[in-house]
Amino acid sequence: MNNLSMDRVTMADATPEVGITVRLSDASVGDRGVIVDVRADLDGKDHGVDVEELQRRLLEFGFVEGARIEVIHEGAIGHDPIAVRLDDMRVALRRRDAGEVIVLLDRP
């Protein structure tokens, strides 16, 4: 856990504050930016697995600090799930599981 928070601090320091940060779960189609944090905070939502496991899965899929991300598609019902371009690959996920990914948007 210590390791994680260290990471977060260094990442946040390394990234210039040019835009606003949003949770990926709240991003809209067309939003693009850089991932600045992938958390394992208890958010009160049920993901089917614990938050540490969710965090590891996100990381394994390439949701990692420093990766470029753009929301490219969303589902018809409730704007869910979303498809994102993550560096050079495309990944689909549900908004419910995307809240731990913090994105620094390019637009101010």
Binding site: N3, L4, D7, V38, A40, D46, H47, G48, V49, E52, L54, Q55, R56, R57, L58, L59, E60, F61, G62, V64, E65, G66, I72, H73, E74, G75, A76, I77, G78, D80, P81, A83, D87, D88, M89, R90, V91, A92, L93, R94, R96, D97
Partner: protein, 624 residues
């Protein structure tokens, strides 16, 4: 050295999903694979053999695709344990071949870093190298090879390019590696995954120059196919085409198989003298094999579509589009594929639930799969609808019979969604697994690969289903044949058999849902497969060859059944677990008798309730 050169080597293929691993496996082994299950689990084991130019035999094991050695599904557990050499009954591989999509290296580099810790010799196959070249993607093979400490071979599996080089490299690597390095792999935590990504990122920066002409096609196609409105419209259109092909395209072949089996039965009947052996072979075995074989055309057409959709990259899009609808009922987006297959037959549907990681998600899908209207119900529906529903037009364009048929399909789908919703809400509280899925770039499916996979799927279906269905058909034949009718019997012979006894025994329980004793008796042989009920009804009503003369049977039923009884029988067939083969496959896939018992229990309860409501309401409305 010559000793080692002669002893066979073992390699395991590991890679991300969509890396062309299966195509590479087919290119290496010529598509000749031995398919079985790993001991004790329901994960498919695929092994083939390749011979080197020096005459050495290499066994190639195709492991399930994965992003990480940190296993989350039964498939990934097999991959991890096989790679670590910890899988019971499996000889550890001499060399691990990591298959990578050359145009999508980032995630696989992280997997390679994990694989390095396993301590076994590693070879990296950079597959789809032609696409990488076309995109102007430059990879410093020498530098990358030095950094990861493994030889790299570039391949184009679909064109068989680089295959000889890969075999030679595997051969050389097994001979060179005298001792194994220490196995230091353990489950990485979040920090270690981040570190590995950073390292992979460094390798990407140092040795891979981004493509000059990146793929823009996928983005353009996706803007249509993943469009919130048009995407769904296109998906529905595609499903429509698929069903049309499955149901009308398969008919001539099915008729041909049916005729061939009837002919074979007739031939046997001519050769063998009248008696028990002839009855066993004609009515039990030939009819049993025929009842499996007759679904093969539909299943092959269905699998053809599924393989095409998977190989082109569309299947992931379909799961994306369907996820919200499926998720609302507590199902995983990937459950879409198994449930779709279940429209042809629940057996391949249940077998394909292996793509679902989470055990509960998978069980839910298995349990509701038989509610989808499988093609074995069609003969039953057609017969009963023809007998009791008037041939009339509704609203100017719709045929009433067609509407009833549509209603039965809709009832199946809605009840499957309803049952899974209830299961999730009340029995397995909690949401399903996180849904995360790569949307691969679109690719043109390779015809040879499609043909090979299709052939293999067909063989698997025949051997698995055959092994379960055949003995059951013999059992049902036994029940319907013994004991014989007494001399001078007035009723059809089946009435005196065990099946007849069971039918008469359960009839009082079925009286409230409007089943007469003939219907009750037909349910017993109808357990073998749903469509057998048609032949069984023919037998009890003594219409002789009911399948050739459904018109006669239909007229007979129309005269003898009330509308309420007919509708009740249809409602029964929407839900009832009238298929022992499905229950047998569920036992196999879940490794327990609990789940087939649960399935039987809930389905028969629903069937009884639905038939009861339909019967009583229709009688109250004057349809009795």
């Amino acid at each position: 050295m010559s000793q080692a050169a002669l002893s066979p080597a073992r390699v395991a293929l590991v890679g991300n999903p969509n890396s062309g691993k299966t195509a590479l496996f087919n290119a290496l082994t010529g598509g000749r694979a031995k398919v079985a299950n790993y001991a004790g689990v329901t994960v498919e084991r695929k092994e083939g053999v390749v011979t080197t130019v020096t005459g050495r035999t290499i066994h190639v094991l195709d492991l399930p695709g994965t992003y990480s050695l940190r296993a989350r599904s039964p498939d990934e557990v097999v991959t991890r344990d096989a790679v670590l050499g910890q899988l019971a009954g499996e000889t550890p591989p001499d060399v691990i071949v990591c298959v990578a999509d050359a145009t999508n290296l980032r995630l696989v580099l992280r997997l390679i870093l994990e694989l390095k810790k396993v301590g076994r010799p590693l070879v990296l196959a950079l597959n789809m190298f032609d696409i990488a070249q076309r995109q102007g993607l430059r990879i410093d093979l020498e530098g990358l090879s030095r950094e990861i400490g493994a030889p790299i071979v570039t391949t184009v599996a679909t064109r068989k390019r680089g295959i000889e080089e890969l075999v030679a490299q595997i051969d050389a690597t097994t001979l060179a590696a005298a001792t194994l390095d220490a196995q230091t792999w353990r489950e990485p935590d979040a920090g270690e995954i981040r570190d590995a990504h950073r390292e992979a990122q460094r390798l990407m920066k140092a040795y891979v120059r981004p493509p000059e002409r990146p793929d823009t096609l996928t983005g353009k196609v996706d803007s249509v196919l993943l469009h919130p409105v048009w995407g769904l419209v296109i998906l529905l259109g595609l499903l429509l085409v698929m069903f049309q092909a499955v149901f009308t395209g398969a008919t001539p072949l099915m008729d041909l198989i049916d005729a061939a089996m009837t002919g074979l039965g007739g031939l046997v009947a001519q050769v063998l003298p009248e008696g028990l052996l002839r009855s066993l072979i004609v009515d039990g075995i030939v009819a049993g094999v025929g009842s499996v074989l007759v679904f093969l055309p539909q299943i092959l057409i269905l699998f053809f579509f599924i393989i095409m959709l998977e190989d082109s990259g569309y299947m992931a899009r379909a799961a994306f589009l369907m996820d919200k609808i499926m998720g609302g009922a507590g199902l995983h987006g990937r459950a879409f594929i198994p449930l779709l297959s279940s429209f042809a037959c629940a057996i391949p549907g249940i077998m394909s639930t292996r793509v679902i990681d989470n055990k509960r998600d998978r069980l839910t899908t298995i349990l509701v799969a038989p509610l989808m209207t499988c093609s074995a119900r069609i003969p039953v529906y057609t017969l009963i609808i023809g007998a009791v529903i008037p041939h009339r037009t509704v609203g100017g364009i719709f045929s009433l019979q067609g509407l009833v048929m549509f209603g039965l399909y809709a009832a199946g789908i809605l009840s499957a969604l309803g049952v899974s919703f209830v299961m999730r809400r009340f029995f397995w509280r909690g949401m399903s697994e996180p849904f995360m899925m790569e949307l691969p770039t679109y690719k043109k499916p390779d015809p040879t690969n499609v043909a090979r996979n299709l052939l293999m799927r067909g063989q698997i279906f025949m051997s698995r289903a055959g092994r379960i269905i055949l003995p059951l058909m013999v059992l049902v034949w036994f029940l319907s044949t013994f004991p014989y009718a007494p001399a001078g019997a007035t009723e059809p012979a089946i009435d005196y058999s065990f099946a007849g006894m069971i039918g008469h025994f359960i009839q009082p329980a079925l009286a409230p849902i409007g089943f007469n004793w003939q219907m009750s008796v037909a349910l017993v042989p109808g357990m073998a497969a749903r469509e057998v009920a048609v032949a069984a009804l023919g037998t009890v009503y003594a219409v002789g060859d009911a399948e050739a003369a459904t018109g006669g049977l239909s007229a007979r039923l129309a005269a003898q059944w009330s509308l309420a009884s007919g509708l009740s029988f249809l409602a029964w067939y929407v839900f009832a677990p009238q298929c022992v083969a499905t229950l047998g496959v569920v036992k196999r896939e879940t490794n327990s008798w609990l789940w087939p018992a649960v399935m039987f229990g809930y389905m028969i309860t629903l069937a009884y309730l639905a038939a009861l409501i339909v019967y009583q309401v229709t009688v109250a409305l004057g349809g009795g």
